[in-house]
């Protein structure tokens, strides 16, 4: 049964209702704000979702609950905003009126110098404060991973975040106090229709449901699927690629389901990193650090695990650990589904096992066996908000004799796809989990990979670090020696 169709995008922008019938598939929220609406408090710093100067809040209903999250307006497509509430810095204080507590805190602590990044920081801190009015330094740093400041050195911005709650109460904030009313307005916008705006090739489509998505995509397999747009956004802003027609997925609640059963966790392909985080931390605590180092907060709010996989990048953050965990993906085309081990999905650089009209519907991550040990390490030039030079994931099962019964070692950044170190695994299998076996495996690893030299790392460093990460894993699983940097140094308890 074909869905009913609506030909407009409808959303709230600050205090205003917006309905657009003429939206280019490549129209970004940032350009819409600055050029169409002349709301120029939101700045363009990089147009690739890295600097955070364009940070705005986007509120959406997730299973009836209204949640506000920071996003990068520069790579968020307007077409994806149907049913959302966009909040920009202009909404925080009336011209000439009192400053919002977050803004006042920033002024009081001398947290702006040139001021260009400042509205973005204000929005990130606002998003944090609403959810966590008295944040730890760690939480503040996490909330600011996607915001670059070149002037202050950040210290006064951290201080600002610490004092906001001495200036104002969260409960009195309009977005908190009026959340129910705003939620009702957004609920009223949900009419269950398929949204199609634009003509011919220049269309944006928001399917009404996952079944509708399957139908639409099967009929139009050349369309571009867009979930978080954290990569596709750059195809537009950096490479000026034409991506239309576009099928947006981010609004589909059904794709954002997380289910946990006795054997594992299943993530819908549209689950964002942020949404997945609680389940990940609960069931795979070894993934928590990596998860917190994927992009910045804005990117984690937008980007999806499904997108990270479907995109097929050799340096995606989630495939190596998911392969090590034995995850599988479910693909769907029309009414047909098939599942395959994740590692088999990646065929070659730029090539995945995905048929025309077929999309990633969910990812299944089985729980670790009771005696299994698992770790993932991400190596980057800068600690946070950086792309892996190498990402290594390791899982071993030891038998009662302390021998390696099963082992999976998978790396990103070492080949054209996320790839297992089969020779190193073979060198370990059946052997004692000791230094001798590790050194044999490290030596074998040189035959597993011929990594590239590029701006992130040289081939020599990549291989050496890959070998050393195996050594680190061994040390961490066998001893009590400190083998990692202590991020808690100096942190107030």
């Amino acid at each position: 049964m074909a869905a009913e169709i609506r030909n407009t995008i409808r959303f709230l922008l600050n205090h205003e209702f917006v309905e657009l019938s003429d939206v280019s598939p490549v129209q970004t929220l940032l350009d819409f704000l600055r050029l169409d609406r002349r709301l120029r408090g939101t700045k363009e710093g990089c147009a690739e979702g890295d600097c955070g100067a364009c940070t705005v809040l986007v509120g959406h209903l997730a299973d009836g609950q209204l949640k506000y999250e920071t996003v990068n307006a520069c790579i968020r497509f307007v077409g994806s905003l149907d049913g959302c509430h966009v909040v920009t810095v202009e909404a925080l204080a009336a011209p000439g009126g009192p400053l919002h507590p977050v803004q006042q805190a920033m002024v009081d602590t001398h947290a702006s110098q040139c001021g260009f990044c400042t509205p973005g920081f204000v929005m990130s801190l606002y998003g944090l404060w609403m959810e966590n009015p008295r944040p730890t330094v760690e939480a503040i740093e996490r909330a600011l991973q996607g915001n670059l400041c070149r002037c202050t050195g950040y210290a006064p911005i951290i201080r600002a975040a610490e004092v906001v709650s001495t200036i104002g109460e969260v409960g009195k904030d309009p977005l908190v106090a009026e959340r129910e009313a705003i939620g009702r307005k957004l609920q009223a916008l949900k009419d269950g229709k398929r949204v199609v705006v634009g003509e011919g090739g220049e269309r944006s489509v928001l399917p009404a449901s996952v079944d509708d998505l399957a139908a639409v995509y099967e009929a139009e397999p050349d369309a571009r699927l867009v979930a978080g747009a954290t990569d596709v956004g750059l195809w537009v802003t950096k490479f000026m690629r034409d991506i239309a027609p576009v099928i947006h997925l981010g609004h589909l609640d059904e794709l954002r389901r997380i289910s946990v059963d006795a054997a594992g966790v299943t993530l819908g392909a549209g689950v964002s990193y942020t949404e997945a985080y609680p389940a990940i931390v609960e069931h795979f605590p070894q993934l928590a650090e990596l998860w917190n180092r994927i992009g910045g907060e804005q990117v984690r709010n937008m980007g999806t695990v499904g997108g990270n996989i479907a995109n097929g990048s050799p340096i995606g953050d989630t495939p190596p650990p998911l392969i090590a965990l034995g995850a599988s993906v479910t693909l769907r085309k029309g009414g047909n589904r098939r599942s395959l081990p994740l590692e088999n999905f990646f065929i070659d650089y730029g090539k995945q096992d995905r048929q025309p009209g077929e999309f990633v519907e969910s990812v299944r991550i089985p729980f670790l066996a009771a005696n299994a040990r698992f770790a993932v390490y991400k190596i980057t030039k800068r600690l946070d908000e950086d792309i892996s030079a190498v990402c290594g994931a390791f899982r071993i099962d030891l038998d009662v004799g302390g021998r390696v019964a099963d082992v999976v070692i998978a790396y990103g950044g070492m080949a054209g796809t996320p790839k297992r170190a089969t020779h190193a695994e073979a060198a370990l299998k059946g052997r004692a989990w000791d230094e001798v076996s590790i050194e044999a495996a490290a030596a074998a690893m040189a035959t597993d990979y011929t990594p590239l030299t590029d701006w992130r790392a040289s081939a020599a460093y990549r291989l050496l670090v890959a070998q050393n990460l195996l050594r680190r894993f061994h040390l961490e699983t066998t001893g009590t020696e400190t083998v990692r940097l202590d991020r808690k140094v100096g942190m107030a308890v």
């Binding site: 260009f116 030039k381 083998v483 100096g490």
Partner: protein, 778 residues
């Protein structure tokens, strides 16, 4: 006359912790940057087309597809330039707006598409097809030297004493080399200009420039019109750091050419990637050194050559490489010294000013030499530092023959050693490293001495314009530009202080070449020194007239007319400032003045390598402790303590911000910020996704920053303050050396790790591997 109750002091005078004058506008997003200004009706947008080759002849260009693209109004090339196709800031005629016939770096502008929207112009620019005939290229500085590439500027030699005597006397001699990477400014607001054509040959350009007067002259030069026809305005920049000292001129020039050609306002704003590809950066250096020293670590002789990757043109590479040499000595006396610069041409973007202007590279090289001595003698490098500090007569002459007369580094270092508990923590680090196999620590305390003044003497002048309106409000304008450093706030505080009125009575207006002419770049940390003095001079003139008026009008002695907080006391009576001004206006007193200042005492003879290029020095020191993971080369800064000298601070809140921000920016330069070119000469780290400046989580886990509150500038500067913009950047050298110490621990501190900058995790791990191999061989 009204009798007023006197108040203690005004709000916002000098030495107060005053908020940034635009702080409330920054946080609301209402601070207007050029891209936020309402565009005049019919505004067009220009977009640059950049070379896709590092060095090549242009065989042909096919504009047909671009010309017929939707919205395109026209395309500009070198032939459309009515005046000169040159914007060399040092008048070398080597810096074309648009390359003609030949390109000399990947990313060099060849043309600009002008269209109704920026999007249309950008898309059309990508459709232009350029056919090249490749020529051999040299990207790296050593490669260029090998290929006999020319120098872009006359090299400098600083020489004192006789190095052969020095080396003959030295019981120890070490030779070595170091590479120091460049740095992108990464101002958050990219380059931008909006040009609005006027009558006759007039034009107004809003430019995100640190140097409006130069932008004015360059626009005049490319248009072939006199300076009086060109007005350049800038209210604020979203960061500059030196990257908009000369690099803004290209964008202003293109916007101006297009505006005059089409008779419409034209805006130009490159995408971040194009900005980073097409504009200059901090110079990378190669330093070759030879050090002679005695067994105590006292330096006998230094011979060093600083070669810089200057890019395809001179730009400011001459003075930048000069300043590198001026800071190779940092705080240390070199009895016999020879320092030489080699500003080499390369097929890369022309490098330019960046906070410190070559000084940081000079100092990093100098501190490497100290480190070498420390490891060679098995001593704490801090001991070596202290043994070589400038001292009294006989040990106070710099390699450029300026006497160091205001030396306070001894006290600064001593106080920081105590407050940071250096000695005990160093012991603890050494003990930690004995027990910890994988994680190693390092701790280092490094000093900074930075020379203040433009080395080009004529730049050390400034003007200001102060209007007191009949209602008692005051408008201030000066030649300095606001890029976040708080200059407008500080100079307003100076004027508030002069008139003894609350700060909110003063309004600072956009810097404009039509208000204050012939200004210098806001650079070299000189902004408040120069413009503060010029504004004080303007205020002094107006006050003198007011005092004369009051003395005459009310029949009191001039000494009995006193500006007290928000009131003026005339004899025994006090009147509100505004009432007093109203009276003065009624008596036809001129209430406006142009102030002027030129820095005294300085002179410099470049050919001889002698003089007093600096009015005074600013000092500071930092102590950093780091942890390094020896399996991966990853590291973090666990703690940094800083004690920094700003003389008597004009605004301690702003100065602390400059120190913290400068330190973190310097740390980025020396750690994670890596410029990486491929073999085709393409810069591949040209956006924040690939070029990694520090994040909040990179700042030291513990960060204690203090100003040396006891310091007073010996020289008569504004409020006895000192410049603060650049010096703190070099405090970050302690991080580089602390990482180095942690690495050195794997070979028992017997080998200098010689980690090049930036010390990326890769460089750190590779150094550790090298050290381990060397230790095994022994």
């Amino acid at each position: 006359m009204n009798v007023m109750q006197p108040i203690d002091r005004i709000r916002g005078g000098v030495h107060e912790k005053e908020r940034h004058e635009s702080g409330h506008k920054h946080v609301t997003g209402s601070a207007e940057y050029i891209d936020d200004m309402p565009e005049p009706a019919g505004t067009l947008h220009a977009y640059l087309g950049l070379s896709q080759r590092a060095h090549a002849e242009i065989v042909s260009i096919d504009f047909s597809e671009a010309s017929s693209s939707p919205g395109v109004v026209g395309i500009l090339t070198a032939e459309d330039i009515p005046g000169e196709n040159d914007i060399s800031p040092v008048h070398r005629h080597d810096d074309p707006v648009f390359a003609a016939g030949k390109v000399e770096f990947h990313g060099q502008p060849i043309f600009a598409v002008v269209a109704g929207t920026r999007e249309a112009a950008r898309r059309a620019a990508a459709r232009v097809k350029v056919e090249y005939r490749d020529l051999p290229h040299a990207i790296d500085v050593l490669e260029a030297a090998e290929a006999d590439y020319p120098l872009v500027f006359d090299p400098l030699k600083l020489e004192r004493g006789d190095i052969e005597t020095g080396f003959a006397k030295a019981r120890n001699v070490i030779e070595g080399e170091m590479r120091i990477g460049g740095q992108d400014h990464f101002y958050l607001e990219g380059q931008i200009a909006l040009a609005i054509p006027g009558e006759d040959d007039e034009i107004v350009v809003h430019s995100s420039t640190q140097h409006p007067s130069e932008t004015q002259h360059m626009v005049g030069q490319v248009l072939g019109v006199a300076a009086h026809a060109v007005t350049v305005n800038v209210r604020r920049m979203g960061g500059g750091f030196g990257g908009k000292e000369t690099q803004a001129n290209l964008f202003a020039a293109v916007a101006a050419i297009a505006a005059k050609k089409y008779g419409r306002a034209v805006k130009i704003r490159p995408d971040r990637d194009d900005d980073m590809t097409a504009t200059g950066k901090r110079h990378d250096f190669h330093v070759g050194y030879r050090i002679g020293f005695d067994d105590e670590g006292r330096i006998e002789a230094i011979d060093a050559t600083y070669s810089a990757r200057c890019g395809f043109s001179a730009d400011l590479s001459g003075p930048v490489t000069d300043r590198a040499l001026f800071h190779a000595d940092n705080c240390y006396f070199f009895p016999h010294v020879r320092l030489r610069s080699k500003p080499l041409k390369t097929n890369t973007v022309s490098n330019t000013a960046f906070r410190g202007f070559g000084g940081p590279q000079g100092m990093v090289g100098g501190e490497r030499m100290i480190e070498e001595i420390g490891y060679a003698l098995g001593k704490d490098p801090l001991e070596i530092r202290k043994a070589n500090f400038y001292g009294d007569e006989g040990r106070n002459l710099t390699p450029y023959h300026q006497r160091v007369e205001d030396n306070i580094i001894g006290r600064i270092v001593e106080e920081l050693e105590t407050s940071a508990d250096y000695a005990a923590r160093r012991k603890a680090v050494l003990a930690f490293n004995r027990d910890s196999r994988i994680v190693k620590r390092g701790i280092t305390l490094t000093p900074v001495k930075f020379g203040i003044s433009f080395t080009k003497t004529e730049y050390n002048q400034a003007g200001a314009l102060v209007h007191v309106y009949a209602d008692g409000s005051i408008q201030l304008n000066h030649g300095g530009t606001e890029m976040g450093q708080g200059l407008y706030t500080k100079v307003a505080q100076v004027v508030a202080d002069a008139f003894q009125v609350d700060l909110d009575r003063i309004r600072v207006t956009a810097t404009s070449t039509s208000k204050v002419p012939n200004t210098s770049a806001t650079a070299a940390s000189s902004g408040s020194d120069l413009n503060g003095m010029a504004a004080a001079d303007a205020a002094r003139q107006i006050k003198a007239r007011l005092i004369r008026f009051a003395a005459e009008c009310y029949g009191v002695a001039e000494s009995d007319v006193v500006f007290e907080p928000n009131v003026v006391r005339v004899g025994a009576e006090r009147m509100a400032f505004s009432a007093f001004i109203k009276a003065a206006y009624g008596a036809r007193v001129q209430l406006s003045a142009a102030g002027f200042y030129k820095t005294p005492k300085i002179h410099w003879d470049r050919a001889e390598g002698r003089g007093r290029p600096f009015f005074y020095y600013a000092y500071g020191a930092s102590c950093s402790e780091v942890s390094v993971d020896t399996l991966t080369g990853e590291y973090q800064v666990d703690r940094t303590d800083i004690l920094h000298d700003v003389g008597r601070s004009l605004n301690p809140a702003i100065d602390i911000g400059q120190v913290e921000g400068g330190f973190v920016q310097g740390m980025g330069w020396l750690t994670t910020e890596e410029l990486w070119w491929d073999d085709k000469g393409r810069l591949r780290t040209h956006a924040p996704s690939t070029y990694k400046i520090p994040l909040a989580s990179d700042r030291p886990r513990i960060f204690n920053v203090k100003l040396a509150e006891w310091s007073v500038n010996r020289e008569e500067t504004i409020g006895r303050s000192k410049a603060v913009g650049e010096p703190p950047l070099m405090l970050a050298i302690s991080v580089l050396e602390a990482i180095s110490m942690a690495a050195a621990s794997v070979a028992d501190y017997r080998i200098c790790p010689r980690i090049d900058a930036p010390a990326t995790p890769e460089r750190v791990l590779m150094a550790i591997e090298r050290l381990r191999a060397a230790a095994r061989k022994e």
